[in-house]
Symmetry: C2
Subunit: 255 residues, 2 copies
Amino acid sequence: MTSAVEHILEDLERSDTREGLQTAILALRDAFDVDHMVYHWVSAAGEQYGCGTYSDAWVNRYLAQDYLRIDPVVLGCFQRFHPVDWKRLDWSSKSARLFLHDALAHGLGNQGFSVPIRGPNGQFAMFTVNHRCDDATWAAFTDSHRRELILIAHYFNEKALDLEPDRTPAPSQPLSPREVEAMTLLAMGYARAQVADTMAISEHTLRAYIESARFKLGAMNTTHAVARALARGLIVVEGASRADMSTQRTARTAS
Amino acid sequence: MTSAVEHILEDLERSDTREGLQTAILALRDAFDVDHMVYHWVSAAGEQYGCGTYSDAWVNRYLAQDYLRIDPVVLGCFQRFHPVDWKRLDWSSKSARLFLHDALAHGLGNQGFSVPIRGPNGQFAMFTVNHRCDDATWAAFTDSHRRELILIAHYFNEKALDLEPDRTPAPSQPLSPREVEAMTLLAMGYARAQVADTMAISEHTLRAYIESARFKLGAMNTTHAVARALARGLIVVEGASRADMSTQRTARTAS
DNA sequence: TTCCAATCCCCCATTTATGGCGGGGTGATC
DNA sequence: GATCACCCCGCCATAAATGGGGGATTGGAA
């Protein structure tokens, strides 16, 4: 890691305001000599927080169009463990192509590299580097800076979480073993009667567990409770998705 | 990062067997001159895979005692985002103290530093460095190697996932926009009537979407479909969606 | 000791979800 | 111009989930 980047990160560590994040990301963009650098959280309710070098026009456009739900970068990172080059994402859908066209029109570069970051309780954030150049140049860049970018992503997330304590509350009492069992079976598609049979208890008892779990998770109904349990990592269902190995089509974002 | 560590990681990247992971972790332990280094990932079903330098006796003891469920390192890392020094964990419970005593008796050092790592669908792994020394020495060590350890943790995780036999590739047809919308609202806890109202369509039409999505996802019922959509990253729902909607806030970015 | 969480069981009732049947329209693609 | 995916709506019925009560025992923590 170059000393310039080191210094920026050290400044960032000493900072305790959102402006510090913004200052750091601007400095990092210049240090790496790329077009854009962005860190942001995403959520179902919309973008909660972000800092970066995208234009206001693009940020507003993104929010207004609810691009969060079709952005292949978000969707791709959400199913992946590892950092990913934008070329490896799935740009095949029509909405994705429209999104890409709009993004390029708003000054984004054709190349991108995004690092997904996760925390407890289903927290999800992304750190993205965006640039306009040819494939070979970009490949060289990501190859040589991959490690630094992973670290930087973590530093940003650490700082952002420090500045947003109410982002991590999720008091989320832990579920009891039987509750976990019940929620897991429900997430696997078993009906209540089947779950009760599998757990060798009466359906009424099972109901008590489901209601208890629903209460602990602050959920409105069973589906909501299962969704939250999944999102918070309280239950693990269905074989690990090896999204990174999947054969997804690649886009031609290169010049 | 020292060149010795660089070389070990490069060797690791070229490796494609579990033995490669073990070789790398042994080499890293020697390179950092610590007592133990361990990478393992855990799941609801128990420890699935791990490699490291703990003695067989301790590993077997750990598994036999089901220490996974009381190990303060696991429990602490599971609720944290950041790497953590073992001293900062909660060792107050009786079971935790028993665990610690047993661990020390099996040759573990008194100092530890663990990096939690997360992936989609609640996947969780940890990379741990363990050593026997005094507090000041350990603080100096973690201070100077923190960044490297984070990176190493990610490299191990990446490699370990590559070596995992991928079960259920989940070809998963994509959902239509309206189907995504419906599943998302259901995952947020809205009942069918509310979803239909929100989407401004009749409840019967909504039913058609849900059934269509259920078919595409191969799900038995709505809860199952939502669980699968979540697990496959087809919908993006944050853990606490409803509460967040009131405090929706977006940072302004400048370029 | 007292208290509380976790584990089990049963009744009543209503609301909600699902299964099955039918009918439209658009727009893109072949 | 045929086909298909997507979008929209109606009715009927039954199966399932939920809301509201009422209990029990165990073991651990305060």
